[in-house]
Amino acid sequence: MYQTFRFVLLLVVLLPLASAVVVPLFGRAARRFAFLSALLHVGLTAAVVVATILALDVRSQSSNPREMGVVKFEPEYVPGDPGAGSTDTSTHRTRWTLLSLSDTPTDKPGPHVQFFIGVDGLNLWLIALCSLMMIPAILVSWEAVTDRPGTFYAWLFLLQTGAIGAFLSFDVILFYVFFELTLIPAFFLIGRWGTGSGRRDAARKFFLYTLAGSLLTLVGVIGVVLTNPLDDGQITFSLPNLMGQVQKGLQKAFTEHLAGKPEALIAKHTEQFWLFAAIMAGFMVKVPVWPFHTWLPAAYNEAPLGVTILLSSLLAKLGTFGILRFVLTLTPDAAISYGLPVVGTLAGIGIVYGALCAFGQRDIKLLIAYSSLSHLGFLVLGLFAFNTEGLSGATLHMVNHGVATGAMFALLAFFLDRYRTTDMRQFGGLIGRFPRFAFLSFVLCMASIGLPGLNNFVSEMLMLAGLFDARNPGVHRLGLAVVAVVGILLGAWYTLTMLQKVYFNPLREPPTTGPELAHDANHREVFVLGGLATICLLLGLFPQVVLAPMKADVAVLTVIGSGARDRVEGVPHKYDYPPINTVDPNVPVPKGMPAGGQPGGKGGGGGKGKGKGKGKGLGDE
């Protein structure tokens, strides 16, 4: 089973790449081929999702192996996994080395840049999102892209490859390569197929701005690699190893601090700060976090709609996912110290600011672009809450926001195909004119403003709960929670204003592109919008399907977070560690965080199961 799904996972990355190579050969029929290929990809991804859910289910039944109170990610279905004994067992490592900096055998940890991909609870649903959102991206381009469609779809597939690769990577350099790989197709797609007059400028701005940020991220990542060598002194690029070493290093300094020698911890924290700042730079631009968002309106507005969908639903998530996967694990202490107070404040400003900007727009496309800034600010808050509720909510919100915002942009294809404009002043009374389309628009807009029963509500509630965690600095007065809720209100305000202008009021429509009158949504549009609306509904009604598999990996992060809180406050075990496993009461809870701690304390924390963990406060009682 392992071998099969390792291969399938590899295919999930390689199929878009292969499609990108082949699709230009089809010329006029490129769109048909692209659609079929995307469908095939959805099928493959579905298989991976099912298999991973099964594998993660098994994992949540057993304890996470830890050494010295150190927790690590354990990717499943890693292609090239040497296995323990036979290849059909999993060691969550790979032998596939791309570049080795020393003579260490490549199946031993060492300075190897490896093709280390795998799937776990955190990236599972993002992969599904990447696969899924290709369908609307292709279908909204169906009529709109007539200029060299083969090349267009090739770039689109390459963009998808980059996103999927980045989400799957467990090697920091490999991640960076995929992360940057997305820039090139995005640059050409915006610059070459863009719809507005400012497309070249927008493409250049997007490229340079994000590149400038991500180069700093590279510096930060290399910094982490160099400052956290393995125990034998060799450097490593593997994320699980790196995060282990980071935790060990910090714990060691903390032990010294407790013994009365605070210098090492102070030095470590200074180092953490600089690394955090550098790594965050790229992600803050990519998300974007206010005030680094100025590339966004131009890029989203000028890009062809299919690309805007991918930009908003996938590429923006690269930033937030980067924070989740790399910032929280590699610079946990700085993430506690500066996450909510500094980045969180900026994100909070962004929530209100983005909403106000959205409110001031006349073009629906720009309105949605700015609303994205607002929603993603909330997501960043959820991430830096650094607790189970916030992290689960944020991870779920990445998927929810991807679907809902992608769907909102997909709605615009209807306008662009018929009227070639999305200026809301030119529309009115569309409910009577296009009842089918209006119905779908309402469902998607309601999803976007977080109506219960649809997807965004669930993740917003979880993130909000995360912000009520009084352990984090700067949230004692719940200011950020209030800002987040105000953001929800403002979101409703601008969305409903748009609905009022466009769908209510007496009928008004601009001249159509074709000779005949515009008609209601056709089968293709109903398929896209109806499908997305259905997904929104299902995610809103049965979110537990998505939340359950990520439990174990979120627990890894929360253990890191609790350790970091102790170190930042300078007091050991000030807070409870959340039980990593809430199913089996016999699983030990890592109490012994200082270096001398028992490796898990087999059977020790017997009573520390579900019941007790739930009853204990988040710390402010």
Partner: protein, 658 residues
């Protein structure tokens, strides 16, 4: 099947099924005319089932509470939102009332929403959303989990939005729909924060029963709990249209009239009252919050009654009267603590119950008027309709008498109970007795005003010379039987339900007082429940006021319109007609600033963009500075090399010679 929870789930399933079925009908042209049937059948069946459920709960013994096993909706960390229903006297009374009234309104709608043989364009849409509304409302009263309750809470908000905006091509309807959604959402901000604050201090519970138990056992510090309760109350203020968030309800009259009857009078707006009644064990702990509740109710009751006096739109008079009567209910809830919660909540819920009947009746009757008058509802344009529409006239009169609080009709009993609660509150020796005394006076004054404005509207519409607007054409006549019959049923309710459920049997109070959560609140407060008796003093005063109001209206408007306002009270009248300029104040204080901020943010964003461009121009600028050096002249390079070498050498020499 007779299991109460099974019945509750069946009701929800029926209503949801009806909604989906109706929505599917929109695709089939033939069945479009039958779009009202699924809803009518589902509501009717639900009403029967709800009454069965009520009987089950009645027979259930000392602790009549059934809580369904929670099904996890979503959970992470300490937050668990589950689908869990609670059936107890409080929720079963609400359920029976909602489904019963909804049935008649659905029947009424089937007549109202069609013009002769022409089916309205949105006929199917109307009944689908109506079904969704009744489903959400039933879910709201049954929910035993705060987040689930929030879900249904927003669900009724959505349906209200869609139905207010039913005539989507009318700009005023579109604006009213958005306003309703946003103003209630403003309250919901508080509601959400309140839920999470309670979750935080209440042992990480979101299930209502568990949360109440936890808070009773280990109460958090009073400030936090007061804050949390006030935040919850924000939600109630928004939904139940209390001061300062009542502004959406009068505008909501843009929707079809049966919608106003069902949503904006009988059911949805009572959700806030229900919420506070449901959360009685929390509010009983915080007298300060209770005082706020009472005062907000008092202010709203008086303010809305004052505005109602001069309105010219019949539906708006009724809308403001709804706001005012809801204020009454909140006053009653606010006395909880000073008075036994059993009595306070019973007073509020009883008024909610009787109000649902007579207000639905009044709205439907005015809908019948509107139907006959060709959608004109301005009282200045018609009059003397009692000869044209005899049944509508009589039923409206029943509703008006009940609303005015004329003895023996249902409104009289419930209003007296609230006044009595206030009297008890002011008689006690606790700190807030003075406040309750003031509120008693306000409530009495409001009672007089209520009788006056109700009968002003009645006389202006039905008395005097018969006048019919030209929109009505020549067919100004009594409405079809599908509309008249529900009016008759509700009129019987408006007359009799008060005396039957109240003083005759004490059925309502006895049954409601068995609600476990109210008993819990009563244990917390520890004030004894006053024995049921007839309070002659209160009854006498309120009867006098009601008859006085009716008489005054009769004197002034007995001959029908047009209205002549004495010069002396002209300014007051203008103030009332212009709704105290509250909408203008909000527009200046809230709406304009946000719009302005939106415009400013747009400008500021360009500034940020310019800043980013400026930074990106720095490399180019620096390059431009040193570009002249690379001028391609070999002589210049040679000179620069020589000079550089000289400088370097002198530097070295200088270093060495030191």
């Amino acid at each position: 099947m007779y299991d109460p929870l099974g019945l509750a789930f069946t009701i929800l399933g029926l209503l949801l099924g009806a909604t989906v079925l109706t929505a599917l009908l929109s695709g089939t042209v033939v069945l479009k005319r039958a779009a009202h049937w699924p809803l009518i059948i589902a509501c009717g069946t639900s009403a029967v089932l709800a009454i069965l459920l009520l009987l089950q709960v009645w027979k259930a013994g000392t602790v009549p509470r059934f809580v369904s096993d929670p099904i996890t909706w979503f959970a992470a960390g300490k937050l668990t939102a589950s689908v869990s229903l609670v059936v107890d006297p409080l929720s079963s009374i609400m359920l029976a009332m909602i489904t019963f009234i909804a049935t008649w309104i659905a029947i009424f709608s089937s007549g109202y929403m069609r013009e002769g043989h022409r089916i309205d364009r949105g006929y199917v849409r109307y009944f689908a959303v109506m079904g969704l509304f009744v489903f959400s409302m039933c879910g709201l009263v049954l929910a035993n989990n705060f987040l689930l309750l929030m879900g249904f809470w927003e669900g009724v908000g959505l349906c209200s939005y869609l139905l207010i905006g039913y005539y989507y091509d009318k700009p005023s309807a579109a604006a009213a729909a958005r306003k309703a959604f946003l103003v209630t959402r403003l309250g919901d901000i508080g509601f959400l924060l309140g839920i999470f604050l309670l979750w935080k201090v209440g042992g990480w519970n979101t299930d209502l029963t568990a949360l109440f138990d936890h808070i009773q056992k280990s109460p958090p510090d009073p400030t936090t709990l007061t804050t949390a309760c006030l935040l919850l109350f924000c939600g109630a203020v928004g939904k139940s249209a209390q001061f300062p968030l009542y502004v959406w309800l009068p505008d909501a009259m843009e929707g079809p009239t049966p919608v106003s009857a069902l949503i904006h009078a009988a059911t949805m707006v009572t959700a806030g009252v229900y919420l506070i009644a449901r959360c009685a064990p929390l509010f009983a702990l915080v007298p300060d919050a209770q005082l706020v509740v009472a005062w907000i109710g008092g202010i709203t009751a008086a303010l809305a009654a004052f505005i109602a006096v001069a309105q010219t739109d019949l539906k708006r008079v009724l809308a403001y009267s709804t706001v005012s009567q809801l204020g009454y209910m909140f006053i009653a809830l606010g006395t909880m603590g000073a008075v036994s919660p059993l009595f306070a909540v019973t007073a509020a819920m009883f008024h909610l119950f009787t109000h649902a009947f007579f207000k639905a009746l009044l709205f439907l009757a005015s809908g019948s008027v509107m139907h006959a008058m060709g959608n004109v509802i301005d009282m200045r344009r018609f009059g003397g309709l009692r000869r044209v529409m005899p049944v509508t006239h009589l039923t409206f009169l029943c509703g008006a008498l009940a609303l005015a609080g004329v003895p023996v009709l249902s409104g009289f009993w419930s209003k007296d109970m609230i006044l009595e609660a206030l009297q008890f509150g002011s008689a006690g020796a606790h700190a807030n007795a003075g406040s309750f005394y003031a509120l008693l006076l306000i409530a009495l004054a409001t009672a007089g005003l209520t009788a006056f404005y109700t009968f002003r509207a009645y006389f202006l519409t039905f008395w005097g010379e018969t006048r019919v607007p030209e929109e009505a054409g020549h067919h100004a006549h009594e409405s079809p039987s599908s509309m008249v019959f529900p009016l008759l049923v509700l009129a019987v309710g408006a007359i009799g339900v008060g005396v039957v459920a109240g003083p005759a049997t004490h059925w309502f109070g006895d049954f409601l007082a068995r609600t476990p959560s109210l008993r819990q609140a009563a244990t917390i407060v520890g004030v004894a429940e006053p024995a049921p008796h007839f309070n002659w003093g209160i009854a006498g005063v309120s009867t006098l006021l009601a008859l006085g109001g009716v008489g005054l209206a009769g004197l002034a408007y007995g001959n029908g319109g047009p209205e002549r306002v004495p010069v002396a009270i002209e300014p007051v009248f203008t103030l009332s007609r212009n709704k105290l300029y509250v909408d203008e104040v909000y527009s200046a204080l809230l709406v304009r600033p946000i719009e302005w901020l939106g415009a400013m943010a747009r400008v500021f964003d360009q500034f940020l963009d310019a800043l980013a461009r400026l930074i990106s121009a720095v490399p180019g600028f620096l390059g431009g500075l040193i570009r002249p050096i690379q001028n391609g002249l070999v002589q210049f390079y040679a000179l620069a090399m020589a000079l550089g070498l000289a400088v370097f050498l002198s530097f070295v020499v200088f270093l060495i010679s030191r």
